[in-house]
C-alpha cells in the first residue's frame, strides 16, 4: 500500500472506527452475558459496575441439572463420531484418490450428494430407521448418520491426490500392501488436514442439536446442547443469571480451546473451506 492509494487520513480513521464499532456490537452480547453469569441475579437486569462478582450462578446451575453427565455424553458422542469419520473417510478417500475401480465416478457423485442433503434434514426417515434398528435413545443413534461424512471424504481425497506417486511406489517396493501404504505414507502427510477436519467436526457435533433432541430421551444419553435446552426451557421460573451461567458452562471447553488456539481454529476453518 503506497501513499498514493490512500487519499485521506480521515477516511482511514473513519474506517478504523467503523471496524471497531462493528466488533464492539459483535462482542457485546457475549461480554454482557458473561458479565451476567458472574453477578448476582438481581443485577441481570440492572447493569452496575459496582455489582459484586460471584460464582454462585455456576454452582446453582451445576447442581440444578446433571451437567456432569451431559458433559460426559457429549464427549463420548463427539469422540465416537470423530473416530468413525476418521476411519471411514480415510479409507473412502484413499479409494477415490488412488484406485480406478468400476463406477468410481458415479460413486463419488453419490457421496457428494450428502454435501447438499445432510442428515440434518432427513430426521423423519432416519428416526424410522433408528427405531427399526432398536437403537433409539443411544449415543450410537446420534452418531451413525454423521459418521460417513462426504465433506471429510472430499477433503481427504483432495489431500491424498497431492501425495507424490514416487512415495507411494517407494512404499510398494518396500513390500507394503495398500493399507500399509495408506498408513505409512498418506496418513502422516495429511496430518494438518486431519487436524483441520477434526476441529471442524468436533465443533460441529459439540454444537449439534436437532437430531440429538429427537433421538434422545433420557439423562444418560442427552448431550450438552439438549440438556441445556431442557434446563433453560423448564418452567422453573426464569433466572437469567443461572441460565447464562449454564450456557457458558456448556460451551466453556470449546470456547476456551478456541481462544487459546485461535490461529489454529481459524486456519482449520479456512483450509476446510478452500477445498
Amino acid at each position: 500500500m503506497s501513499a498514493l492509494a490512500r487519499p485521506s487520513i480521515i477516511g482511514d480513521a473513519l474506517e478504523t472506527a467503523g471496524a471497531w464499532l462493528l466488533a464492539l456490537v459483535w462482542a457485546l452480547p457475549i461480554l454482557y452475558a458473561f458479565w451476567t453469569a458472574f453477578h448476582p441475579g438481581e443485577f441481570a437486569t440492572r447493569f452496575s459496575l459496582l455489582a459484586p462478582w460471584t460464582l454462585e450462578n455456576f454452582a446453582n446451575a451445576w447442581n440444578a441439572a446433571p451437567f456432569a453427565r451431559y458433559f460426559l455424553n457429549t464427549v463420548v458422542l463427539v469422540t465416537m463420531i470423530l473416530a468413525g469419520q476418521l476411519v471411514l473417510c480415510t479409507l473412502a478417500a484413499y479409494a477415490f484418490a488412488r484406485f480406478t475401480f468400476v463406477g468410481h465416478n458415479v460413486a463419488f457423485a453419490l457421496v457428494l450428494v450428502q454435501l447438499m442433503i445432510m442428515p440434518d434434514v432427513l430426521i423423519v426417515e432416519n428416526y424410522r430407521t433408528m427405531r427399526l434398528l432398536g437403537v433409539l435413545d443411544t449415543t450410537l443413534a446420534m452418531a451413525l448418520p454423521y459418521m460417513a461424512s462426504a465433506f471429510g471424504i472430499f477433503l481427504l481425497r483432495q489431500t491424498f491426490k497431492t501425495v507424490p506417486r514416487e512415495l507411494d511406489e517407494a512404499a510398494r517396493v518396500e513390500g507394503c500392501g495398500p493399507l500399509q501404504t495408506l498408513w505409512k505414507v498418506y496418513v502422516p502427510l495429511a496430518k494438518p488436514v486431519y487436524i483441520a477436519f477434526g476441529l471442524v467436526s468436533v465443533s460441529y457435533h459439540w454444537n449439534n442439536f436437532l437430531w440429538p433432541l429427537i433421538v434422545t430421551n433420557s439423562v444418560s444419553t442427552r448431550p450438552l446442547t439438549v440438556g441445556l435446552a431442557v434446563f433453560s426451557g423448564s418452567d422453573q421460573g426464569i433466572d437469567w443469571s443461572i441460565i447464562t451461567a449454564a450456557t457458558f458452562l456448556s460451551v466453556a471447553p470449546l470456547l476456551v480451546a478456541f481462544l487459546l488456539f485461535q490461529r489454529q481454529f481459524v486456519q482449520s476453518f479456512m483450509q476446510a473451506g478452500i477445498k
Binding site: A27, N208, L255
Partner: protein, 312 residues
C-alpha cells in the same frame, strides 16, 4: 505378488502398458472394499432416507389399528390446504432474504478489514469469529435474555430514551426479524473466514500496481477484488441458503414457531408434524419439498459454477 498387482495399477497412466487384467481386477476389488464401510452408512442414512421420504409421502401415517396404506397424493393435497405450511414457506423465504445478503455483505466487510492493516485486527477477528463456534442453543439463550420484555438488554437501552418495553419475540411482526438478527450475528463471522482465505490468495502486486496507477481503493475493490472473490461468494451463498433451510435450533429454543406460527420455518414445521403430532406420512411429504429446494440449490450451483473450478 499381491502387493505388486495393485501397485502396478495405482502407478497410473505412466505404467498403463503394464497393467494386466488381474491387476485391474485387484484395483476394482480394493477400491470397493475401501469404499464399502462409508458407502454402506451413506446409503443407509442419506440415500435410502432421501428415497424413502418420497416413497412414504404417498402413504398414510400408520395408526394403532390402521396400518399404513397407499393414499396417492393425499398428503400433498393436505399440504396445499395447510395454511401453516404456506406460512412456513413464506417465513423461510423472508428468513433467506433477511439473513443471506446481510450476512454475506457483513462477512465481506469484516474480511476486508481483518485482512488489511487495521489496528488491533487480532481482537477484531476474535470478536467477529467467536459467535460462530458457539452452539446455536447457547446463542439463542443469550439473545432470548436480550429480547426479554422490559428487563432485557434491548428494552433497558430503549428505557434510557424513555421508550416503553416491547415483547420482541411475542409479537408477530418482530419475532421473525429477531431470529434473523441472531442468525446474521452468528453466521457473518463464519463466512468471513472463507473471504479471508480467498483475500489472502490475491497476489499483493495487484493492489500495488493499482496504487501506482492511482486508482482508489473502492475502485480497486469493485473492479479487481470483488470479481476475484466471485467463486468464494458462490460457495458462501450456497452454504448460506442450505443453512437457512437446515438450521432451526433457534426456533425450537426461542419461539417454538410462535407466536401463531409467525416464526415457523420449513424444517421446524417438519419437526412439529413428525415428532409432535407424529403424522409421519405428512411429514414425509413436507420433507420432499425441502429436498426439492436443496436439489434446486445443487442444480443452481452446478450451472453457476465457474468452469475454472474443477475437481482434479
Amino acid at each position: 505378488m499381491r502387493s505388486k498387482g495393485w501397485g502396478v495399477l495405482i502407478a497410473g497412466p505412466r505404467a498403463g502398458a503394464r497393467v494386466t487384467r488381474s491387476a485391474r481386477n485387484m484395483a476394482h476389488l480394493y477400491g470397493w472394499l475401501l469404499l464399502l464401510p462409508a458407502a454402506a452408512l451413506l446409503a443407509l442414512f442419506t440415500h435410502y432416507p432421501a428415497l424413502g421420504t418420497i416413497y412414504h409421502s404417498f402413504y398414510s401415517t400408520p395408526r394403532a389399528n390402521r396400518p399404513s396404506v397407499y393414499v396417492g397424493l393425499d398428503n400433498y393435497q393436505s399440504m396445499v390446504e395447510d395454511p401453516v405450511f404456506w406460512q412456513a414457506v413464506t417465513n423461510n423465504l423472508i428468513f433467506c432474504i433477511g439473513t443471506i445478503p446481510a450476512s454475506i455483505a457483513l462477512a465481506l466487510l469484516m474480511a476486508v478489514w481483518v485482512n488489511g492493516k487495521i489496528r488491533g485486527r487480532g481482537l477484531l477477528r476474535t470478536a467477529f469469529f467467536t459467535p460462530t463456534i458457539l452452539p446455536m442453543i447457547a446463542v439463542a439463550n443469550i439473545w432470548m435474555f436480550f429480547y426479554t420484555p422490559d428487563y432485557g438488554l434491548i428494552d433497558q437501552i430503549r428505557g434510557l430514551f424513555g421508550l416503553p418495553g416491547f415483547n420482541w419475540l411475542g409479537t408477530r411482526n418482530t419475532a421473525l426479524w429477531c431470529l434473523i438478527v441472531v442468525t446474521v450475528w452468528k453466521e457473518a463471522g463464519f463466512f468471513m473466514i472463507f473471504y479471508l482465505a480467498a483475500l489472502q490468495q490475491i497476489p499483493p502486486d495487484l493492489s500495488e500496481a493499482a496504487a501506482i496507477e492511482g486508482s482508489s481503493r473502492w475502485y480497486f475493490f469493485r473492479r479487481v477484488t470483488f470479481p476475484l472473490l466471485m467463486p468464494t461468494t458462490l460457495f458462501v451463498l450456497v452454504n448460506a441458503v442450505i443453512n437457512s433451510f437446515r438450521m432451526v435450533d433457534h426456533v425450537v429454543v426461542m419461539t417454538r414457531g410462535g407466536p401463531d406460527n409467525a416464526t415457523s420455518l420449513l424444517l421446524f414445521h417438519i419437526y412439529e408434524v413428525g415428532f409432535k403430532f407424529w403424522d409421519v406420512g405428512y411429514a414425509a411429504a413436507l420433507t420432499v419439498v425441502l429436498l426439492a429446494v436443496l436439489a434446486l440449490v445443487a442444480l443452481g450451483q452446478f450451472f453457476a459454477l465457474d468452469r475454472r473450478i474443477h475437481y482434479r
